[in-house]
Symmetry: D2
Subunit: 254 residues, 4 copies
């Protein structure tokens, strides 16, 4: 039996403290429901952490433990300490997987890894979303069928300010007339990154069996389990002999 | 006649103040030689700026003026103010072109746009480098022929910690036995980015006619001349009617 | 003034001969309307050719003349001679641009260049299509705004059996609930390829001003004007001395 | 324990019948040595097939059985029947993995899947090749270290007429002064393709422990084990209601 994949479900968990509508859907927080989904499908060892935990839930130990981190944030992106972002970024570039969920498109960590604005168009009317599979053979789409139908969702629309995805697994349709690249794969450094847009705090999207399947699949895909520290070595001794060189200035002046 | 392309040649220009060997090759600074190359080939309006200029040579005015910025830095990457990096990054994402040259691989601006370590292996023995053209039909390779032979160069070797290039225009061979992805194209936001590795401060590489041709070609390629400010709008009014929605909680509980 | 871009508008032109509904929309054939669009916007020298022309409209002379070919086909893909496909493919790989339109997704030439099935889901109900711009800074999207609204269109839906596009310029929304990667950029060999899905024979889509703009933009984008014949040369004389080698068999046997 | 990966090692096996130098290195044929390498490293069920086998070694049964096919060919590419190429291509697009080895760059199957010329520069002097790892975190590079040193190799040089690789795992250095994209990953349809250039018939490269490791890693990477037949369905019944449409001809005439 392969070793269980270690997933840290990180969650901002601020809406839950202020907003009744959110509390009714996610009484213990979105992170608990994401974690429950992974445990339901099996093959994972799951921990959760939130912004208001000690050290914002991000420690060297937990990043060393984790094969994959899932990241949900929205109203408090700015409160995440830059040093914590740097720690997660370093872990990803060394080989850890990262799932960025929904409003996490505007998290410091996603913007830092993408290098772009990560902006989009949005609308909150609870309209219908249909998440279409573009790559039925991709491991993240395994078992999903043609599409996922979400009765209520926040609209995220194009243009989405991201680098061209390396693989486009999902594209979403919205009732109000919009489309969105809702499932995007990247590799950065030695780590794998998956952005997945469904998951608004006032809709029970993380209870949806197909959404749970996508998140579970994506954690498996992102768990590369390599750890390659960054170096920029002086490769002093060449593999081939380099005899003493004469500086050629002949082309310097016409 | 098409309007001239406006290029800001930005240069750290610190080695030139301290190092005799550099002064002999670039007595007025690398930026002056890069600028001279562009003017020699024609079609450009060129300005230069350096780190020790007022405002580090980076102002809203000059970034609005420039179609393309070329960037050389090495020993003083850390001295570039974060606010200046943010200004250049914003300009690139809005449509300005950027050429990152040689040791600029470790500049704040390149790392910010790539999201990765941008680390590499290196060696300074003045060995021979041969820059091979992988994409002979690409505008950046126009007029270059099969390869560029540099009698003396600093070795930059793989692995290079970058996202997979969108187009690999050049790959370099080194006498000491190494290879390097020396010419890499990206689009980030609405701007185009070209990384080009040849150009060490103690070799007269920026006088080389083929290197000048590459830099000129790359400035033309990167000059998209669009300016699209970042927005993340609430698209309140949908294109299609969205009737009042009922919140479906049916899939919330098993 | 830059030289006009030479475009060959190639069209199957069989529906027009059999189907009244098509004749009413395109009495002289789709090719004449595409050509008129290019001439209206200016900057092009346009020729048209059809499947039933002598030599199927594909000759060495016209391919040498053309900077770009646009390709529309549907019911008679199989009638296009393999030798004609090979000629067009060769021209593209040597640097000619190619626009593949609508049902051309199943043309021999598109499948030959993509290497994949190019299959999709489809439905003909005349439903509404909205073509969203994903890359507002891309030259093919210039002047298009946020989206193009087509009152009637044939639905093309995901999954679309193509290689991951190098740049995703458009994604379409359909009234019936589907999405489609409707504007896809590729480079193959030295040529540029753009697939653009809107354009069914029973709807007046090629009269639409924004569709005309896209086709005009795409012809400009695809017109690279390079011509690099295929070779696979024996590079007998190395750039670096290779002394006589001894065959090392030491690792052959354990 | 995961099920063994089923690999069909397909080999042209014509050089071995005519050329003494080849017979001395590969007395039973290259395919037997590749198969032995896979069996040595374990986790595979291996079959071999050659061009002169009944049905050219390609049957519906064996393609249904195989998770991955490895392909070596050179002097007899033209003898491979088009129907056999079509069968392998179909299997790859449905999910089977494919490793294309060395001179297989010019095989019908590789050219059919890439859509390009797949041409390159070459030289046979038995010079040294050093295969550098560009992506140390990629599963195909697992256990390889910095590079593979091959004392004798045929030179393959840029430009290589391929689509931009989706992931560049290896780049090779040659003693004579050339470079080559020697390890290239693609996904086409639902299948994964890896091109790996080392492996000339007169050098014992397929005995090399690191080369064996690469081939073993690549077979594991390419074994996706999905099987998704091609369809192009009429999605007659939309997910969303499409009321009867009125044909809008308003934009047809100015």
């Amino acid at each position: 039996m392969p070793a269980k994949i270690k997933v840290l479900v990180w969650h901002e968990c601020r809406h839950e403290k202020k907003n009744k509508a959110v509390q009714e859907i996610y009484p213990e927080g979105i992170h608990k429901v994401i974690a429950a989904g992974l445990e339901q499908l099996g093959g994972f060892e799951v921990r959760t952490a939130t912004l208001d935990d000690p050290e914002q839930g991000i420690t060297p130990e937990v990043l060393q433990w984790a094969d994959v981190v899932t990241w949900w944030g929205h109203m408090a992106h700015a409160d995440v300490l830059d040093e914590k972002v740097a720690m997660v970024r370093k872990a990803v570039l060394e080989g850890m997987g990262l799932l960025v969920l929904h409003s996490g498109h505007y998290s410091k960590i996603f913007k830092a890894l993408m290098g772009t604005t990560c902006s989009l168009r949005w609308r909150e009317m609870g309209e219908r979303e249909r998440v279409w599979v573009c790559e039925p053979g991709h491991p993240i789409a395994e078992g999903i069928g043609d599409c996922i139908e979400l009765p209520n969702s926040e609209m995220y629309g194009e243009p989405f300010g991201i680098p061209t995805p390396e693989k486009q697994v999902f594209i979403s349709w919205y009732q109000g007339g919009d489309v969105f690249r809702s499932g995007c794969c990247y590799e950065r450094g030695h780590g794998r990154i998956f952005y997945f847009s469904p998951g608004h705090e006032t809709y029970p999207i993380y209870y949806h069996p197909q959404i749970r399947r996508v998140i579970s699949n994506a954690c498996k895909w992102a768990a590369r389990r390599v750890n390659i520290p960054d170096t920029c070595p002086n490769a002093k001794t060449p593999h081939e002999a380099v005899p003493p060189q004469k500086l050629d200035l002949s082309y310097m002046k016409p």
